[in-house]
């Protein structure tokens, strides 16, 4: 019987594309001259796994190409070839070629063999050239050999080692205290996860120690394990050559500590190559999230079982079910409070427990949907590099806060707006190098993407240190298009607002990058559809900053329940400034129409919810009810309600699924008693109320 391999094709393509993205990201981070060995490993793994996959599936051309690529990468990995600008360029091109080949194969189209063989030739030329003239840099990469030959320690514990109370991790740590230690783990004997016996030790180690350490000191570390392991301590013949093959070029000492600590043998732990745990200082850790999130699970064959692919539909279904469970649980809790009798206390205790578990369950399910924003950010390094080349500008891209997590739906929709913004920054914001130098700035402009949690929201900032928005030009353009009257004076904020108008562009000529006048209005619309907001600030000659504020998730909102008559409404906590009771007489009428009250020196209009929603209230007298001061779209209003009921997290349900959009309402939720409460959309509500006043 033969296995139909085509069923695995989709998974192979999907993984390969992801892996290529990771490879590209790693390439872009690769420092010319001083490459991070872990990055090279990442790149190597991608090439290797694509080679393996394509050979398995019979995609000969891809396999052959990746084989050449692998050869080149192997040279880089061993330090035999330095990472130069040329090499980096060829590698980036290889990513493109591999992507093109995979796409072609996926679409069952012929591969453009000419391009492939051209590049493959380039690759081979580079390899051949290097082999003729061994690079001095390769030698420089090697750690300075110490005077005495290094020790090699082979430590092969017996299975019962752990059961006898020995801890290999402790031994490795002690060894490291003796001197800088290199560790290689041997997981050959690791059985399948299903067969693993957690009490047994299946791992073995080969360690290297500096020559100065005395043999006695080394052996002492293993004193307690005597009889429970095979131990060989021997001098290495030639440290330099051996090292080059066995270990990566020396990372700084702290990295070694992490390496030594990394492979503790909680038996059953999957093998990690020793290089997989480099000690990263905070900045590099932040700068390379893909490595942590994407590449490792996708590429290292051994870590595959660490993650599974699940369709979003299944997760949504799970979310729905959990949402309903939460409602049922709230219903039970309410009911439980009314029970009397000997077992009531037990019942209530159980219900409290249930509530806690429910909350945890809900949070875990929410977290399943949350992904770090690096998934979006990772597309930018390449984009910025290419754009900068094309436009003849020098641009440094700074990414921070990439680990900030947000809901997948939000994540997917925020990508395009961010691309727009970054493009704009590069095309319009950052000046050409000569102009920058002339104005006393470094020739390379900086585009900074930052993400951070702020309260229940996530704020994504795109800023540049370019010329800033040209107020005069924006205004002139707006005047010429009749958007602004010739004599109107606008505040800065109002001028910046103009760029969000549909079809507005100040670009003198349309480039293929931006300037076609579609952009900022689309950005704003996309952000708004996610329940977010976008703000601009800019300083002439210093740069501009776009801040997008987004809800973390579209599924849950923290809300304050308010009562109006017999109805309950939810006001999102994020829009509430405070709630207060008005004294009688503190309300004035404006020209006999709108009511306003004084709040911290401002006069705010009052929106009577019962009027807007056509509900019979318990009271119409303002001092008998409460006023919730709420903010939306930069405006503050007082919402007049009968009473405040309580704060709770509510699951947002769409009204649009079965009904339609209602102005002033963003959705609905189901309360503990199973009834439906509407969730207010404060900006929309302000809009409705002002329309009513105007009418």
């Amino acid at each position: 019987m033969t296995v139909d391999l085509t069923q695995f094709h989709d998974a192979f393509f999907e993984e390969s594309f992801e892996a290529l993205d990771a490879m590209e990201a790693a390439l872009l981070k690769l420092d010319i001259g001083a490459p991070d060995p872990e990055l090279i490993n990442t790149i190597f793994r991608v090439a290797h796994s694509i080679k393996g996959g394509s050979a398995t599936f019979g995609f000969a051309e891809i396999a052959s190409f990746t084989h050449s690529l692998e050869t080149l990468l192997d040279e880089l990995r061993s330090g035999a070839m330095p990472v130069s600008e040329d090499v980096s360029d060829v590698l980036l091109k290889s990513v493109d070629i591999m992507r093109a080949m995979l796409r072609a194969v996926q679409a069952k189209q012929p591969i453009n063999s000419q391009r492939v063989s051209d590049l493959q030739f380039d690759l081979e030329v580079i390899i051949a050239r290097n082999n003729q003239a061994p690079s001095p840099a390769a030698v420089a990469q090697l750690p300075a050999a110490s005077a005495a030959p290094r020790w090699q320690v082979r430590f092969r514990p017996y299975r019962e080692l752990l059961a006898r109370g020995n801890d290999p991790l402790r031994m490795l740590r002690e060894l490291h205290e003796l001197g800088e230690t290199r560790v290689q783990i041997d997981a050959q004997n690791l059985p399948l996860l299903t067969d693993i016996e957690p009490q047994d030790c299946h791992l073995a180690w080969t360690l290297e120690l500096p020559g100065e350490v005395s043999e006695e000191a080394i052996r002492q570390v293993f004193d307690w394990a005597e009889g429970d392991c095979d131990l060989e301590v021997a001098r290495l013949p030639d440290p330099a050559t051996d090292l080059a093959v066995q270990a990566q070029p020396s990372p700084p000492p702290p990295a070694e500590a992490a390496v030594a600590i990394e492979p503790p043998p909680p038996p059953g732990a999957l093998q990690e190559p020793p290089s997989a745990a480099p000690a990263l200082d905070a900045s590099t850790a932040a700068a390379r999230p893909e490595n942590a999130v994407k590449t490792d699970p996708a590429m290292s064959a051994h870590a595959d079982s660490g993650s599974i692919r699940v369709s979003v539909d299944k997760i949504d279904e799970l979310m729905n079910t959990v949402g309903e469970l939460v409602i049922t649980q709230a219903m039970l809790s309410q009911l439980g409070g009314q029970f009397q009798g000997p077992q009531a206390e037990q019942l209530r205790a159980g219900l409290v427990q249930l509530e806690r578990n429910m909350r945890e369950l809900q949070e875990s399910v929410m977290r399943v949907r949350m992904l770090p924003i690096s998934f979006v950010f990772s597309r930018f390094p390449r984009m910025v590099r290419d754009l900068a080349h094309r436009l003849g500008k020098q641009i440094e891209l700074k990414l921070t806060g990439e680990q900030t997590e947000l809901d997948k739906t939000v994540l997917e929709k925020i990508g395009d707006p961010l691309v727009h913004l970054v493009r704009n920054c590069i095309d319009h914001g950052i000046e050409p190098p000569e102009k920058r130098i002339a104005s006393g700035k470094p020739p390379a402009g900086t585009v900074h993407l930052d993400a951070a949690h702020r309260g229940g929201n996530i704020a994504v900032e795109v800023s540049d240190d370019g010329g800033g928005l040209d107020k005069a030009r924006i205004l002139a353009k707006a005047r010429s298009r009749g958007l602004v009257g010739a004599n109107d004076t606008l505040s800065d904020a109002e001028i910046y607002e103009l760029i969000f108008l549909p079809g507005f562009s100040t670009a003198d000529k349309t480039t293929d990058v931006s300037g076609r006048g579609v952009g900022m209005d689309v950005v704003r619309r996309n952000v708004k559809s996610l329940g977010g907001a976008i703000e601009v600030s800019s300083e002439s000659g210093r740069g501009s900053r776009f801040t997008i504020t987004l809800p973390l998730t579209l599924a849950i909102v923290d809300g304050q329940s308010v009562a109006v008559g017999t109805e309950t409404y939810i006001v999102p906590l994020i829009s509430i400034v405070e709630s207060m009771q008005l004294k009688s007489g503190s309300v004035s009428r404006l020209s006999g129409q709108g009511e306003v009250f004084s709040f911290r020196g401002d006069y705010l209009p009052i929106i009577r919810l019962h009027q807007v929603f056509g509900v019979e209230p318990r009271t119409r007298a303002l001092h008998e009810g409460l006023v919730v001061v709420a903010e939306g779209d930069g405006r503050r209003v007082g919402l007049f309600v009968d009473d405040l009921l309580g704060q709770q997290q509510v699951v947002i349900k769409s009204l649009e699924t079965n009904y339609g959009h209602i102005e002033g309402i963003s959705g609905a939720t189901i309360l503990g008693d199973g009834s439906v409460a509407l969730i207010l959309d404060v900006p929309g509500l302000i809009h409705v109320a002002s329309m009513r006043l105007a009418a």
Partner: protein
């Protein structure tokens, strides 16, 4: 315009099951395949700016479902909602996809087999043009049953709410 009779009925002889219910003096029928569930009356949450016959929304196992009062839709005399008032939850197919909604009726009668050959077209009732949601009339046990096309009857209302005036104001919001 004449009654709208789906193709399979015109070929004749095919029978389908119809759920019949009572509104005042009249009996109506809808395709049983459209019926999701039948439940007792419970208080609804009002929705602002809704047409009068849309009473509000209910929680139907986690989804929010609008409730329509058919008496008000047909401009019949209003009845009190009591413990025996019934809500039939149905699904309609609209231009924007499947939507669920509930209709309030006086009571559910029966599920009957209706042979499409027996369905008579509904007579045109003047120029009101409001009868295109009638699939036809059929006589069951000497009672006239009015077969309803709920896609036309309710679906159109719902589409108007979803894509009509509110849709425009959404666009205005976004600008």
């Amino acid at each position: 315009m004449s009654a709208n009779i789906p193709g399979d009925q015109q070929r004749g002889g095919e029978s389908r099951q119809v759920l019949t219910f009572v509104l005042g003096e009249e009996t109506y029928g809808v395709d049983i395949l459209r019926v999701q569930e039948i439940r007792g009356w419970s208080a609804v949450t009002k929705i602002p700016h809704a047409p009068p016959h849309v009473l509000g929304v209910l929680n139907l196992r986690g989804s929010i479902v609008p409730i329509v009062d058919l008496r008000m839709r047909f401009a019949l005399e209003r009845a009190e909602y009591t413990a025996i008032t019934v809500i039939i939850v149905m699904s309609v197919v609209t231009s924007s996809g499947r939507r669920d909604f509930g209709v309030v009726v006086d009571g559910v009668s029966d599920v009957v087999d209706v042979n499409s050959a027996e369905v008579k077209p509904a007579p045109e009732l003047g120029a009101r043009g409001a009868t295109d949601y009638l699939l036809g009339l059929v006589s069951i046990a000497e009672r006239m049953v009015v077969l309803l096309d709920i896609d036309r009857l309710i679906g159109r209302d719902l589409s108007a709410i979803a894509g009509g005036e509110d849709g425009e104001s959404m666009a205005a919001d976004a600008a």
